[in-house]
Amino acid sequence: MMMQLFYILIFPGFLFLYLMSFILEYEDRIIYARLQNRKGPPLFQPLADFIKLLAKEDIVPECADKKIFKLMPMIALTAVVTSFFYIPIWGVNSLYPFKGDLIVVLYLLTIPTVTFFLAGWSSTSLYSTIGAVRTLTQLFSYEVLLFLSVLSPAMLADSWSLGDMASFYNERPAMMLFNIVAFGMSLVAMLGKLEKVPFDIAEAETEIVGGTFTEYSGRLFAFFRMAINMEMVVGASLIAAVFLPFGLTLDPVYGFMLYIVKVFFVIFFLSVGRTVFARLRIDQMVSVCWKYFAPIAFAQIVLILIVKGVVL
């Protein structure tokens, strides 16, 4: 019982996720800054931002649906933390593995986006409402892409379980190379999911102020930010687990260090992505995702089917 609590609350549960989210936010911000020729924030800046936000006043708009407005940050946070328990970190298996946990993780990762929509919609501000509608529109363009790109390695491994997939690729490391296209597509989808440039349309500052989060302040906003940062950790871990599943049979200490390296690697790509592109318009994003990226992901699945027929 004590051990279970330790797993859930300390490591690799909530506390670890909490610290990791700050470290990854720092990494993202410093890479973004260095690529833009700036100095970037100090290491403790994300934590300082969080503490400062906690100390600020919570303002709930008068016309807002107060219950939903206050509840949404917590639901987003809970969904993200829960999904982390099903992702293998240093070994082949996650904390609570079962058949089909991949689907559960993808499902749990969709919940924050829905909460963003509800939060924006319930705060009734014009900017939030437009942001909320954009969040949903965006969801329909990257979510399919994410599912398709995660589907192809799962098809190759013939399993919906992250643990089974990991052990499959550990036995045949060369098989990983067939998934490179899907890896790229999943990074694109993750940029959309985390609402980063070029897909930060839902919170485009120069157009709709703060988008979904315009009316959020203080503690509630801090929790939303934390949920997004943790989503970044979970997303990066998921990509690392699905597309870079090597070295999982190592000693836990080395395995853990390897995991950190992998996550940093994924975040590096995301940071570069948001440095080199301009923000797309919502119609452009939908058309790009459906016209170019989705067919590429389909082509990847066809490739996997051929590989399955020929090699295995």
């Binding site: 700036r38 318009r281 919502i282």
Partner: protein
């Protein structure tokens, strides 16, 4: 969602100055744009009438934080015309050199702002870093980053010595190199082009009809540049092209500004090569005779027009200035027709607006026909009443106590 009206401004992250755009949206598409000026009226024209000409140089230089040299030169040219004073040639060259350096810093600033408006912050960071080269140069020339105070009646206030001219040439080399890089980005980077092309379209006919000036007009194919059409300072003696473009959209405006930078470097090199020796200023009378003059100046944002009327005293009778943004603002509503909400910030930014320079007093009339004039005393009374009724704070005691001082 039906039609919603969304306010962009007076306070909005996309706008650096207060200005109100009320946008009617059908989903993401713009149906109608309502514009309202007048949030930052400073009464510069009236203030100028109460000051002497010399004091007015400093006032007019502070009309705009970016084109400070443009406004002061336009004003001084008009006054010099009224007084009938011809300035030395070297002073004309110095004015032109500083004016062109100002154009470099304004256009690089615009490039960064445009990048920020389309969510491309990397471009903002890069172009503003490179802008520091010219900012430092201007600080070295005039001792200040934006108000260089290089102008005075009858010439220039400071000379540019040989070392300084050399330093300018070196900086121009660096800037030319960087500008080529930005031209490369603007014409090759896919997401940037996607966000710029086709946005804020305005045809050549509309540009002529609405009197659009500067790079905004030139991007729609009209070749209008005060430096070429009505040469002032030393522009009659240099060889340069007026850059035009036929895209008619934000992309065209970006290209025009970037290519214009290359012309600017060409102009600076010619000016420095041909700058004559001699005095930098002549004596200027304190009292300006009666008469009037209009002066045109091609500011980085477009044509700046100043009108000055003298009455024989040391104070002007009337000063009227028309900043380029006032000429361009009318075209914004046309540009935004049928665009997306996401295009609003960049379409507004593409005219390189400077609302504070533009703002004039406006009188609002109710649709019922009753207009209301609120005096200072009324406003005070209203605010005192507001605090007493809404917050229970009574200022009447304090009011009595300090009545003598107010």
């Amino acid at each position: 969602m039906g039609t919603v009206k969304i306010p962009i401004g007076p306070q909005h992250p996309a706008l650096k100055e207060p200005e109100s755009f009320l946008i009617s949206l059908d989903g993401e598409r713009i149906k109608d744009v309502g514009m309202r000026l007048g949030y930052n009226h400073r009464g510069v024209e009236k203030a100028a009438e109460g000051r002497t000409y010399i004091q007015n140089i400093y006032l007019i230089e502070r009309v705009c934080g970016i084109c400070s040299h443009s406004h002061s030169t336009a004003f001084i040219q008009a006054v010099e015309e009224v007084a009938g004073v011809e300035i030395p040639k070297r002073a004309k060259y110095i004015r032109s050199i500083v004016g062109e350096l100002e154009r470099v810093h304004s256009h690089l600033l615009w490039l960064g702002v445009a990048g920020h408006e389309v969510g491309f912050d990397t471009l903002l960071m890069y172009s503003w870093r490179d802008r520091e080269v010219v900012m430092e140069l201007l600080a070295a020339i005039g001792g200040n980053r934006v108000n260089y105070a290089m102008n005075t009646f009858g010439g220039a206030r400071r000379d540019l010595d040989k070392d300084m001219l050399e330093r300018i040439l070196k900086a121009v080399d660096v800037l030319e190199d960087r500008t080529k890089y930005y031209i490369n980005i603007a014409t090759k980077e896919t997401t940037l082009i996607k966000r710029l092309s086709g946005v804020g379209y305005i045809s050549k006919d509309d540009v002529i009809k609405l009197g659009t000036v500067g790079p905004t007009g030139r991007a729609s194919g009209i070749s209008r540049d005060a430096r070429k059409d009505d040469p002032y300072a030393a522009y009659g003696e240099v060889d340069f092209n007026v850059i035009t473009d036929t895209h008619c959209d934000v992309y065209g405006r970006a290209v025009v500004r970037l290519l214009e930078l290359m012309e600017t470097y060409k102009i600076i090199r010619q000016l420095i090569k041909n700058i004559p020796d001699g005095d930098i200023a002549v004596r200027f009378p304190r009292r300006v005779p009666a008469g009037e003059a209009t002066s045109r100046y091609e500011a980085p944002r477009g044509e700046d027009v100043h009108y000055v009327k003298g009455n024989g005293t040391d104070k002007p009778e009337r000063v009227k200035l028309r900043a380029p943004t006032l000429a361009n603002l009318m075209s914004v509503a046309k540009m935004l027709e049928d665009d997306n909400l996401a295009d609003v910030p960049i379409a507004i930014a593409a005219i390189d607006p400077c609302f504070s320079c533009t703002d004039r007093m406006i009188k609002l009339e109710h649709s019922s026909g009753n207009s209301e004039i609120v005096t200072w005393g009324d406003l005070r009374k209203r605010s005192i009443d507001f605090y007493r009724t809404q917050h229970g704070i009574d200022f009447s005691e304090l009011n009595k106590k300090y009545r003598g001082n107010l």
